[in-house]
Amino acid sequence: MKKRIIVIGGGVAGMQTALRLAEQGIEPVIVEKEPELGGKLRGWHVLFPTFTPAEQVLTDLRRRVNERGIEVMTSTEVVGLEPRGVTLADGRRLTCDSVVLASGSTLFDASIKEEYGYGIYDNVFTSADLERMFNEGRVTKADGSAPRRIAFLHCVGSRDEKVCQQHCSKVCCVTGVKQAIEMKRLFPEADVFNFYMDIRMFGPGYEELYREAQQSYNIHFVRGRISEASPTLEGRVQIKAEDTLTGRPLRMSVDMLVLLIGMRANDDNARLADGAGLQRARSGFMAPRDLFLGNVASNVGGIFYAGTVTAPKTIGESLNEATAAADAAVRYVEA
């Protein structure tokens, strides 16, 4: 009889894990709480640094999952897990030989940083809102007009002790550069500013993209966080910041303020971890057994991790990790 492994989460990491398991003669089951597969990538427009449409990646993964005949349970939420099975929200229990947790992470709720006015005034958006608008093909101010000055703010809900998120979300820097370029392509006349603490261009092609943004697109990078935003009478957003390179406070009105929101640990990580005896990092993300030779294993035998459930990651990293997690799980069930 085929060994059965349950993959919790049907985002890119979950799908890739299931595919890799199926390739090796294992029977994977994807349990996804949303009505369809795709996770955070659903609703994303294009991927850095190559501007590859997110839909292209998703479609390919979904097609292969389909062709393989992998069992997928959508709109199904997992409330507890152990190496030999998972408990669903409706009380059912599914049994298996091992579990891969690929439940991802949660986008930071920008309204917590009330000083930026998200959800309070018009024309304050998050990076996720912007991707949705790109996909809808309609990027405008709230009144329907085209923006003439756009500000991006990096590190919203990342590296911010004040909202209990001390970790770096890693992907927002390059997302900010990517989105700034996309805006500039849409509105060549607009001024685009990126307010940052550090620019962390760690991946292949990222630094080049950052350089291109400055040299070819004339996007302005200002080192300094925005301290507060307020609405103006004309419906614009006035921001206050400090340019820490010149050491001067600055104030400017912009048509759109885009908050580059970070990734935070899922709220249900705590419950899942407590039930299964799993360790979590201080950030709330799941902690792998170790960061070198056991980075896809948990501290509990038979439970493995793939994707951003352990830390913020890029799509490419999540896919690689999914392969590694599947292989580790196979070794475990066949041992």
């Binding site: 009330e114 000083e115 309070i120 005034y121 301290s227």
Partner: protein
Amino acid sequence: MTFYAPFCLPFILGAAVMFLTLAWKWGKWLWLLPRRDKMRLLRGLPTRRTLQAVGEVISESLLHRRIFRVNPLLGYMHMSLAFGWFLLIAVGWIETIAYLGFRYVPLQGHVFFKYFATGLAHKPVFDQLMDLLLLFVLSGVALAWGKRFYSRAMGLKRTTKHVLGDRIALSALWFIFPARLVAESTTCAIYGGGGFLTGGLGGWMADHIGIMPLLTMESAAWWFYSSCLGIFFVALPFSRYMHIFTEIPLIFLRRYGIRSGEKESSYDNFQVEACSRCGICIDPCQLQSVLGINDVQSVYFLRDRRYNHLRLQVADNCLMCGRCAERCPVDIDLNTLRLNSRDRMRNVPDERRYGYFKDLDRSSGQGRVGYFAGCMTLLTPRTLSAMTAIFEAAGEEVWWADREGGVCCGRPLKLAGETDSARKMMKYNADLFRKHGITTLVTSCPICLKVFREDYDLPGIEVLHHSEYILRLIRAGRLTLEHGSTRFTYHDPCELGRGSGIYDEPRAVIEAVGELLEPASTRENALCCGSSVANTAISDGQQLQIARSVAAELEATGAEVIVTACPLCKKAIGRGTRSQVRDLSEIVAASIK
């Protein structure tokens, strides 16, 4: 009849040292009082304030009424020691007069009267009365011993850690009354007399101990009693027991209107040395109860300041929430003392730093009502939007101070000890407010409110917190609100409640829009959100720990929405909970008909 025996020497010397030191200390402190305070003292003397002060001395220094409110047993302990000892002295004095008539008797003659009075005919009434009083004091001593081992019985989870001088004085004090009992009983055993206590014990001794050992014992016991008194008196001015005598002038000076200010003054000495180190301030401190920090509380701050080894880390590590001051039985102005210590250690005004004030005022227009949001409200713009909606609904013409060049109110700097820099901000803002002819200044930040009311010179301008202002609008019928079924709970901000005495207005406003549920610690006992601008020492994580504990208490009420009336509290509590946290103005704006 002579009133001298060699054993009196320790007592006489001790008392002399004590009275000379007291005279020196008081004289110096009074002499160094600022002229203004000296005038207050002189003008106050012939008024009824003096009588009120006498009354307060009796109720506090002797009866310890305020400690009874903390815990009856603790109150009884302090009262039996203070009032009991006072009565022993007073009745002892009357006893001497009753025996000898009005004639000069040296101090030791009064104190050791039982020793000298053996040849006189006994007056049993006094014997019984004095024994009763001695028993009263001894019961207090017994409780003090008990408190060492089980302080919780007296409502104290933690008691003060004492310095060596205090321990010496404390030990001497504990032995004084048992020693007196033994000494008087021995004398009674030899010469007869005494009441139910000394006479009873004396009789038992006479039955069981031979006369020769008794004579030796008598001498030793009186020496021991006198030595305990002497040691205690010498240690007193240098130990916590200085409070016994310092609280009395403090009460008088306070009644004459003398107060501590943002700069240290000689009056502070009276406050600092009036601290008895009872430790009542330790339990209410959230730095202690939540974070386990136990060397910064008011009792330790005052101790360190008194002995001149105060460190900035200790002075800085305080939320200035006022929970301890609320409970202090001596009513010491703890926050102000901490503030002026910070001022002494940190006030380094930088003249260039405020150059930007020039060119900042781009204001125009006028308004009957001025609104000052304050920095923290600008960081919580939901409050700002709500206030805009409220002003609009009430048809109020508002002059927006922040948009017209207003700067920080100055209180955060003041609380950090940078009082001179704070004054610059206060002056700039006050000039700006006056220029626009406003008659009412509304602020939604209690931190700003407190400094506007206490430190700004704003003649003709009434300063209101938005809770007071909104309540006026409602009562005047300018704001009609929908009463819903939402259950709210209210967190009292420190600066608004204990700081400015505003408790009822926010509650009345909440009751106008929904149901109000009170948390366990409320009003004067309300907890601090933990993010106080007054504390620059604890870490963000520690602030969060306090916020979580506060949020837990608020959530325990079962309310759907946590309401507060301070933007800083709102932000702080919001971090510690997933429940909704709203400013008072938000729930009002949402209920406007």
